[in-house]
Amino acid sequence: MTVKPLDLTVDEVRERIRVAGVHIPEERIALVHGLVRDALRPIRAMDTREALTLEPAPTFDAAAERDRHGHR
């Protein structure tokens, strides 16, 4: 497996659209490309061996009581 370049290409965006089975009109591809490329840049730059593995949301003390069905 090779290390991905920092910037997602337009062709990669087109491939992702195909794989996801969604439609984005041609005139909006450049906009979506910029959006996805910028969002992914820090992820492509990270060293996945060093990042933390913590809870996804900053819930602090949100562990409310639940019954065995998960209801509060």
Partner: protein, 461 residues
């Protein structure tokens, strides 16, 4: 008193006058309804006006004041972003998809403010499903900025910002996933507080991205935000992220000043793309804080470069929420919004998880910075409100701002006016603090506000 004067009184001042029998909640509600009738034709901040309900609740508040058992919010006009469910009153989320939705229950926040005696004037325009600042193709026409009608009021709590600046309500609620309370506050020259994640319930508020969504108060002064937060804060079993952390007294410390308060300025970040006007106003604000006795220090947040990963989380979760409707009823979404939401389907599971890991690191770095200082100060937005002609370009991207990092970290963050640019548009200062330390954030904001005059200016409308 002229309706223009009544439209700009704050919660504390109205409360004093109610108790002195100098003003009545019914007269104040009627004056606001008259102002809405006259001015909102231009501003378009309200989607629904609930005049009958407002007058009924004002009469109830008047009776409570006469009995002597009314709280500080009794008889105070309030309006809700149309993302908050209101029982029996249409709640659209700014969308064609929900254009006819009549909820059977109130959002928890609506219930709490009603129980506190606030008087509901109506529902305020929001950008479609609370995403972004303004896209073409919205089901409902946009609110306009009272400081310059050719400019946007910010978003997505656009109606909340515009109505407050124009004196069409005294308090409002907004929601904030990446700055949707603080952005309109900044662009409209008012005050907005995004509380700590879990501090204020989101139950009954339409979701955008549930690990980033926050709800909170908007008003014209920091004190008014504190008074509203007091009624809103607290555990709600209906919100899975709601916290059991005890609720502080948010007004008790407001008058204590900030002598010795350690204010951190993260100069290695948050200043990219900041305009000269905003930078100048921000530096002047720091000077005021120094003069008030604050201890200013530069701080570092090394992982701030990971903040753009916010978009992976936000769009990924938003797509997950909307996936079925996007596939089955795509025509009920605005064109540009639909395409931006659909971009959320383009991230992989690995990328979503990595974004959450980066978020954890950012949160840790912010906590480390806040171990050295009591609050952080930054410009809220890099520039003033853009013109409609700029943002209505379908290819206008999401604007970069200084707000999303505090959604990622879940920290309380307050936006308040700190000046005006030469174009007459407001500039805003942002304070952020430790988890559940809204009291210190509000104290810093109040001290700065009371030392300046920006919050007293009124738009030319």
């Amino acid at each position: 008193m002229a309706t223009a004067e009544l439209g700009h009184l704050g919660i504390a001042e109205l409360g004093r006058r109610y108790r002195a029998r100098d003003l009545s909640p019914v007269d104040v509600a009627a004056a606001h309804l008259a102002r809405i009738e006259r001015l909102d034709k231009i501003l378009n901040s309200y989607l629904t006006v609930t005049a009958e309900r407002a007058l009924g609740e004002a009469r109830d508040a008047e009776a409570a004041l006469r009995r002597g058992d009314a709280g500080p919010l009794a008889g105070i006009p309030v309006a809700y972003k149309d993302l908050y469910a209101t029982r029996g009153i249409r709640t659209t989320a700014g969308s064609a998809l929900l254009a006819d939705w009549i909820p059977e229950h109130d959002a928890t926040c609506v219930t709490r403010l009603r129980q506190a005696g606030m008087v509901m004037l109506g529902k305020l325009i929001t950008h479609e499903f609370a995403l972004g600042i303004q896209f073409p193709g919205h089901r409902f026409p946009p609110a306009r900025n009272p400081w310059n009608l050719d400019h946007i009021p910010g978003g997505s709590s656009s109606g909340s910002g515009a109505a407050l600046a124009a004196g069409l309500t005294v308090g409002a609620l907004g929601s904030d996933t990446g700055g949707s309370i603080r952005g309109p506050a900044a662009f409209c020259g008012i005050v907005g507080l995004k509380p700590t994640y879990g501090r204020v319930s989101r139950a009954g508020v339409v979701t955008l991205s549930w690990t980033l969504d926050h709800t909170g108060p908007m008003a014209r002064t920091v004190e008014d935000c504190a008074l509203m937060l007091q009624a809103l804060a607290g555990y709600d079993p209906a919100d899975p992220a709601s916290s059991r952390e005890p609720v502080s007294d948010y007004t008790a410390a407001l008058g204590q000043g900030i002598r010795g308060l350690r204010v951190g300025v993260p100069r290695d970040s948050f200043f990219h793309d900041v305009s000269a006007d905003v930078a100048g106003a921000f530096e002047s604000a720091l000077e005021t804080l120094r003069r008030l006795g604050a201890d200013l220090r530069d701080v570092s947040i090394p992982s701030i470069g990971s903040a753009p990963a916010f978009m992976v989380i936000m769009l990924g979760e938003a797509f997950a929420y909307h996936a079925r409707d996007l596939r089955e009823r795509p025509e009920l979404y605005g064109d540009v919004l639909r395409d931006k939401l659909t971009a959320g389907a383009l991230f992989t599971a690995e990328e979503y998880v990595q974004a959450q890991r980066l978020r954890s690191r950012l949160r840790e770095d912010m906590h480390r910075a806040l171990a050295e200082v009591d609050v952080l100060a930054t410009p809220t937005t890099p520039g003033t409100a853009p013109a409609f002609t700029t943002v209505l370009d379908p290819n206008f991207p999401f604007a970069r701002t200084n707000m999303p990092p505090f959604n990622m970290a879940g920290l309380p963050a307050l936006a308040l006016p700190c000046g005006f640019a030469p174009n007459g548009l407001p500039v805003s200062l942002q304070f952020a603090g430790r988890p559940f330390d809204e009291a210190t954030v509000l104290r810093a904001g109040h001290a700065y506000e009371q030392a300046t005059e920006w919050h007293r200016r009124r738009p030319p409308i």
